[in-house]
C-alpha cells in the first residue's frame, strides 16, 4: 500500500523511477557532451560514444575474450559458486553448534573491515600466479555475506516448523534439504546477490593489483600506458557486467517476493 502510494507520488509530474532515469540521462549526457564541448579535457575523459564504440570492439575481439574477459568471468563464476556452496554449509554448521557461532560471531560482524586484498601476495606465494589466488580472494570476500544471510534466515524459522520437523523424525539430510533450506531461501538469495557483487569486486581487485591477465589487469595496464580509451572501455565493461548481474539478481528477488505475496 505504502509502496504504491509512493509510486503514485510525483514531483514535477515525474515518478521516482522517472527521476532516477532522468538523473542517469543527465550523467550520460554530461559524459558525452562534457568532453566534446571542452568542459572536460577529452584526453582525460573521452566522449562516452567513443568509449562505447571501443568497448563494443573489445567485446567482439576473440583475443580480448581469451586473455582478459574469459579468465575474469571464469574466476568470478568459480569464486561465486564456491562461496555460495561453502557459505551455506558454514551457515548451517554455525547455526547448529552454538559455541562455534559464539566464537565466529564477532569476526563475522567485522569481517568486511579486514582488507582481504592484503592477503593476495600471500595467496600468490602459496598458490602461484594463476587463476587460483584470484578465485580464492573472490571467494574469501564473498563467503561471509552468504554465511550471515544463511544464519539470518535460519534464525527466523518459526519454532513451530522446527518442532514439526522433529515430530516427523526426518533424517538430517531431509531436515536440511526439505525444511531448513526452503525456509531460508529468500535470505540466502539476498546473500547470494551480495556474494556475486563481492566475487566481482574481489576478482577485479586482485587482477588490478598484481595479476598479469584478466579484465582488472587490462584496465590497470591501459592506465599505466596512457591508453585511456581502452581503460574507460574496460571500466565500462566491468560496470556493465557488475550492474547487469546485480540487476538480474534483483529481478529474481522481485519475482520471488511477488510469487510469495500472491
Amino acid at each position: 500500500m505504502r509502496g504504491s502510494a509512493i509510486s503514485q507520488d510525483r514531483r514535477l509530474g515525474l515518478g521516482p523511477k522517472a527521476w532516477t532515469a532522468m538523473g542517469l540521462m543527465i550523467i550520460l549526457s554530461f559524459l558525452e557532451w562534457g568532453p566534446r564541448s571542452g568542459l572536460v579535457d577529452s584526453f582525460t575523459l573521452p566522449p562516452l560514444s567513443s568509449i562505447i564504440v571501443r568497448a563494443a570492439q573489445l567485446l567482439v575481439d576473440s583475443a580480448f575474450w581469451h586473455q582478459h574477459l574469459g579468465p575474469s568471468l571464469l574466476a568470478i563464476m568459480i569464486a561465486f559458486l564456491f562461496a555460495a556452496a561453502s557459505g551455506i554449509v558454514m551457515g548451517l554448521i554455525l547455526w547448529r553448534f552454538g559455541l562455534m557461532r559464539r566464537i565466529f560471531d564477532p569476526w563475522l560482524s567485522i569481517y568486511y573491515a579486514i582488507p582481504t586484498f592484503a592477503l593476495y601476495p600471500l595467496l600468490v606465494i602459496v598458490a602461484g600466479i594463476g587463476l587460483l589466488p584470484v578465485i580464492l580472494l573472490g571467494a574469501l570476500l564473498a563467503i561471509v555475506s552468504v554465511i550471515t544471510a544463511t544464519l539470518d534466515g535460519l534464525d527466523s524459522i518459526p519454532r513451530i516448523t522446527i518442532k514439526l520437523a522433529r515430530a516427523l523424525q526426518l533424517s538430517t539430510m531431509d531436515y536440511v534439504l526439505k525444511i531448513l533450506i526452503p525456509s531460508t531461501i529468500h535470505q540466502i538469495v539476498v546473500g547470494l546477490r551480495l556474494a556475486l557483487s563481492f566475487s566481482i569486486i574481489g576478482v577485479m581487485a586482485s587482477e588490478f593489483i598484481l595479476s598479469t591477465y584478466g579484465l582488472g589487469y587490462f584496465i590497470s595496464y591501459a592506465y599505466d600506458h596512457f591508453s585511456l580509451n581502452d581503460m574507460y572501455a574496460g571500466i565500462a565493461i566491468v560496470l556493465f557486467f557488475a550492474l547487469g548481474a546485480n540487476f538480474l539478481f534483483g529481478l529474481l528477488l522481485h519475482r520471488r517476493s511477488m510469487r510469495m505475496s500472491t
Partner: protein
C-alpha cells in the same frame, strides 16, 4: 530439548543472552569470557598457520614467529613508522567525512520517502561496483597525491553510511513525530529527543561499516599509486620478495582494522541495548 540432530537452534543470538546475564555475572568474569571468545578464532588460526608453516618450506611460507620478526624489523624503520602515521591520518580524515557526509545525505533523503526511492537504486548500484577499477579515474582527475586516496576511501565508505541512515530515517515511527507535533515541540527538541535517539544505533553500525570500507579503500589506493602509507609499504615488500615482512605487515593491517572494528561493534551493541 534443543539437542536433536541438526536442530540446535532457536538459540537466541549471543547479544541477547549476554544482556540478560549482565546483572548476575561478575563484571571481570564476563570481560574475561568475552575476551577469550573473541581471541579463540585468531588463536586457532595461528596454531594452524604454525603447523602448516612447519610442514611447508619455511622460506616460501613463513610461520607466525618469522612474520612477527619481519614486522618488528619493519617497525624499526623510520619510513615504516611514518607510513603508519600517514595511513592513520588519512583513515581518520576519510572516515570522518564518510560518516558525517553520509549521515547528513542519508538523513536528508530519508525524510522524504519519494527521494529515498529515487536515490536508493543508484546508491546501492554504486555499492556493488568494483570501485578499484575506477581508481585510475580518481588519479586522472585529482592527481596522484593524498586527495585521490582520500576521495577513493570516501567513495567506499560514504554510500553504505548514507544508505543505512536513509533507511533508518524513513523507518522512524511516524506516531512519535506526530506526538511531537501535537506537543508543539520546537524542531531542535524534535531532533535531539526523537530523531537522533532513534538513529543512534544505525549511526554506530554505519560508522563501523564505513571505517572498514574506508580502510579497504585506503589500502587499495596505497597499493596502486601511493608513495607512502601501509598499502605502499606492502607493495614495496612484494616487489622485494620479503615474504616474512609481507606476512608481518598483513598481521599489522588486520590488527589496525580489527581493534576499532571490535570497539565500534561493542559500542553498537551497548547503544542498541540502551535503546
Amino acid at each position: 530439548m534443543r539437542k536433536m540432530a541438526f536442530v540446535a537452534t532457536g538459540e537466541p543470538p549471543r547479544e541477547t543472552r549476554g544482556a540478560q546475564r549482565t546483572s548476575f555475572a561478575p563484571l571481570l568474569a564476563r570481560v574475561l569470557t568475552e575476551t577469550l571468545v573473541v581471541l579463540a578464532l585468531p588463536a586457532f588460526v595461528f596454531v594452524v598457520w604454525a603447523i602448516m608453516a612447519a610442514i611447508i618450506d619455511n622460506v616460501v611460507f613463513p610461520g607466525p614467529l618469522e612474520a612477527i620478526r619481519g614486522l618488528a624489523s619493519d617497525l624499526g624503520r623510520e619510513g615504516y613508522r611514518s607510513s603508519i602515521l600517514t595511513t592513520i591520518r588519512l583513515l581518520l580524515l576519510s572516515w570522518a567525512i564518510s560518516v558525517v557526509a553520509g549521515a547528513l545525505i542519508g538523513f536528508g533523503l530519508g525524510l522524504s520517502p519519494f527521494w529515498s526511492r529515487v536515490f536508493a537504486t543508484p546508491m546501492f548500484a554504486f555499492y556493488c561496483v568494483p570501485l578499484v577499477t575506477l581508481y585510475p579515474v580518481f588519479i586522472l582527475f585529482l592527481g596522484i597525491g593524498e586527495e585521490s586516496r582520500v576521495a577513493f576511501a570516501i567513495a567506499h565508505g560514504l554510500p553504505p553510511m548514507a544508505l543505512l541512515v536513509m533507511g533508518a530515517t524513513s523507518g522512524i515511527d511516524k506516531n512519535l513525530l506526530r506526538l511531537a507535533d501535537a506537543l508543539t515541540l520546537p524542531w531542535h527538541s524534535k531532533v535531539t529527543k526523537i530523531i537522533i535517539p532513534a538513529l543512534v544505533p544505525t549511526l554506530a553500525s554505519g560508522a563501523r561499516i564505513a571505517l572498514g570500507l574506508t580502510m579497504i579503500g585506503l589500502i587499495l589506493a596505497g597499493m596502486v599509486s601511493a608513495t607512502s602509507g601501509l598499502g605502499h609499504e606492502l607493495v614495496n615488500n612484494i616487489a622485494n620478495a620479503r615474504v616474512a615482512r609481507i606476512t608481518g605487515q598483513i598481521i599489522f593491517i588486520v590488527i589496525l582494522a580489527v581493534i576499532p572494528g571490535l570497539f565500534l561493534r561493542w559500542l553498537e551493541q551497548r547503544l542498541s541495548r540502551h535503546r
